[in-house]
């Protein structure tokens, strides 16, 4: 269980997040949604410690996360930022860097690190690409390499900031399945998503943020029923039953 208590954070003393309190269930998919600039990416950054917290605390399994060293934090929380470079390196080297928090002295990756990286590659189905340079891969494949890196990190919690950005529809659907599998393996997955339809289908736990405050958190159905979701985005949400389960489409709220 990841407990966020009264967290405020922001850039250079201007708070973006105000008094956020959330409990995020273990082994489930939590999706954070909200309109542009509401602070959802900032929340992930504050959790990882990229942005210092002004007040409040974060507890993971009873431990104060931000009292740990960055290295110890990384053993507990893996983070895939939205802005990912395409480093001039191979898939295997990138995934091996997932073992960075476990590096001791001398600062060389050991045999067991290589084994962990290899099994992460197999898990993502890209072990045949291990020696490929990352910049020759498609966006979807690169995404898989980055998720494999996060897997190699062996942290119980994985944060992903808009992992479906720039992916074509087939890779987006694959991503949904992979995220679902990660949760089934017992990982706590926290996603920031722009795509509301995908968020509603994927989330076990939905967090709606607007203007740096939590508007609602709970199951997607509750978020729909309470009206907080349509309020946050100023849209009308229409669920439709299809042979493949419930789908959603959105229309603008009519102005009076």
């Amino acid at each position: 269980m990841l407990e966020i208590r009264n967290l405020s954070a922001g850039y250079s003393s201007v708070p973006v997040l105000h008094d956020i309190s959330l409990s995020i269930p273990s082994g489930k998919i939590t999706v954070i949604v909200g309109p542009n600039g509401c602070g959802k990416s900032t929340l992930l950054k504050a959790l990882v410690g990229i942005i210092p917290c002004m007040s409040g605390e974060v507890l993971l399994g009873g431990e104060h996360l931000h009292r740990l060293t960055t290295q110890e934090q990384a053993k507990r929380i893996a983070y895939l930022p939205q802005d990912r470079r395409i480093p001039d390196t191979t898939v295997m080297r990138l995934v091996l860097h997932g073992r960075f928090p476990y590096l001791g002295y001398p600062r060389r990756y050991r045999h067991e690190d290589v084994q962990t990286a290899l099994s992460a590659l197999r898990r993502m189905g890209i072990d045949t690409l291990a020696e490929q340079p990352l910049n020759t891969l498609s966006g979807g494949m690169r995404q898989k390499a980055y998720i494999a890196m996060a897997l190699a990190q062996a942290a119980p919690v994985i944060l992903m900031d808009e992992p479906n950005a720039f992916l074509d529809i087939s890779h987006q659907l694959q991503l949904s399945n992979q995220v679902r599998e990660l949760a089934e393996d017992g990982k706590t997955v926290i996603l920031v998503l722009h795509d509301l339809a995908m968020a509603l289908k994927l989330a076990d736990h939905l967090v709606v943020i607007k203007d740096g405050r939590v508007l609602h958190h709970g199951s997607p159905d509750e978020a729909l029923r309470s009206g907080s979701l349509s309020g946050a985005f100023n849209v009308k949400i229409h669920p439709i039953q299809t042979p493949d389960g419930r789908q959603y489409y959105f229309t603008p709220l009519e102005r009076n």
Binding site: T69, T70, A74, Y79, P81, I86, D88, R107, E131
Partner: protein
């Protein structure tokens, strides 16, 4: 494919550097044959050839090797840390900072090897932090960092120039120091700088995985547990140490720190575990070759090596700029 090329490229670079160093010891106004070289090395400075070898050629060759290593590795590290392949200690003003510090030292008559090395290191470091601080404060883009560096570069050079005018007795700071030259290298100045360079290189080679993780970008690196600001500082201090030490005996040698890392990266890729050693070996060979050419091509005139380097480096820098415009992901 770059992976498979690595051992071959490394070996070639090593052999070229070795041969350059041998030529550098043998060729010059007085030629020394290989057998004479062997004798003089064994017997020490007893014959006239031995004297030339021990007191002129060896310090000079060592200086070429050391400054080539230092500037190239410093360039590779600065490029990785700033995530900007146009950066190098010469271009962003780190060399000039070290140069100004050396000028101040000389103006006050502090000429011992350790003082000059230490001053050069401090000058280089202050410049690095000035640039990084300005960049972080303003959230400047990668291009702005370079432009800021260029501005700082000319400011520091102007200050050095003014000092040299006000203190005409600064004999060492002839125009040769401005452009980079090895003709006045002495062992007493080389040894402290050499120790600084060796220490910085040793540390950097052990931190190559850290440097690669830092190159993944600030957020990803932090997510992998790296204290990003601290490590960035460590790397920049080490890069400043290298550049400063080199400036303390070789003057403001430009372009090496840009040219060699670029060529090395093209050949074997950006993996620091191999890139840094290749920069060290290749840089050593490159500077030695340039110095050799500069002092033998137009004999009896001796060109300052910096002139030759600028002649090669200027067009190369333009070439890099033009290629970037093509929108290469890795340039």
């Amino acid at each position: 494919m770059k992976n498979k090329r690595r051992p071959v490229v490394m070996l070639c670079a090593f052999i070229i550097t070795l041969i350059s160093a041998l030529f550098s010891l043998c060729l010059g106004a007085a030629r020394i044959s290989l057998s004479e070289l062997y004798n003089a090395l064994l017997n020490g400075p007893v014959s006239s050839q031995g004297y030339i070898l021990w007191y002129v050629r060896m310090p000079r060759t060592a200086a070429c090797l050391l400054s080539g290593m230092a500037l190239s590795v410093s360039g590779a590290v600065i490029q990785a840390v700033l995530n900007n392949k146009l950066a190098s200690p010469g271009i962003i003003g780190v060399n000039s900072g070290a140069g100004l510090a050396v000028t101040i030292c000389c103006a006050f008559g502090l000429l011992s090897g350790w003082t000059v090395s230490a001053a050069a290191f401090i000058g280089a470091m202050l410049t690095v932090f000035l640039i990084v601080f300005a960049a972080q404060k303003t959230g400047a883009s990668r291009t702005t960092v370079i432009l800021g560096g260029v501005a700082i570069n000319s400011l520091l050079n102007a200050l050095s120039e003014a000092l040299t005018t006000l203190f005409p007795e600064i004999a060492m700071l002839s125009s040769d120091f401005r452009i980079g030259d090895f003709s006045s290298v002495t062992a007493s100045r080389l040894i402290p700088a050499g120790i600084l360079i060796a220490a910085a290189l040793a540390l950097l080679f052990t931190l190559s995985n850290d440097l690669d993780v830092l190159s993944l970008g600030e957020d990803t690196a932090r997510g992998l547990g790296m204290p990003v600001r601290r490590m960035r500082t460590v790397f920049l201090v080490l890069a400043a140490m290298l550049a400063g030490a080199s400036v303390s005996f070789a003057g403001l040698l430009g372009f090496v720190g840009l040219l060699v890392p670029h060529a090395a990266r093209k050949l074997i890729g950006s993996d620091s575990r191999y890139l840094l050693p290749l920069c060290a070996i290749g840089g050593a060979g490159f500077v030695t070759l340039c110095d050799l050419a500069a002092r033998t091509l137009f004999a009896p005139y001796e060109l300052a090596v910096g002139i030759l380097m600028a002649v090669i480096g200027g067009p190369f820098f333009l070439f890099v700029l033009l290629k970037r415009k093509g929108g290469h992901a890795d340039a």
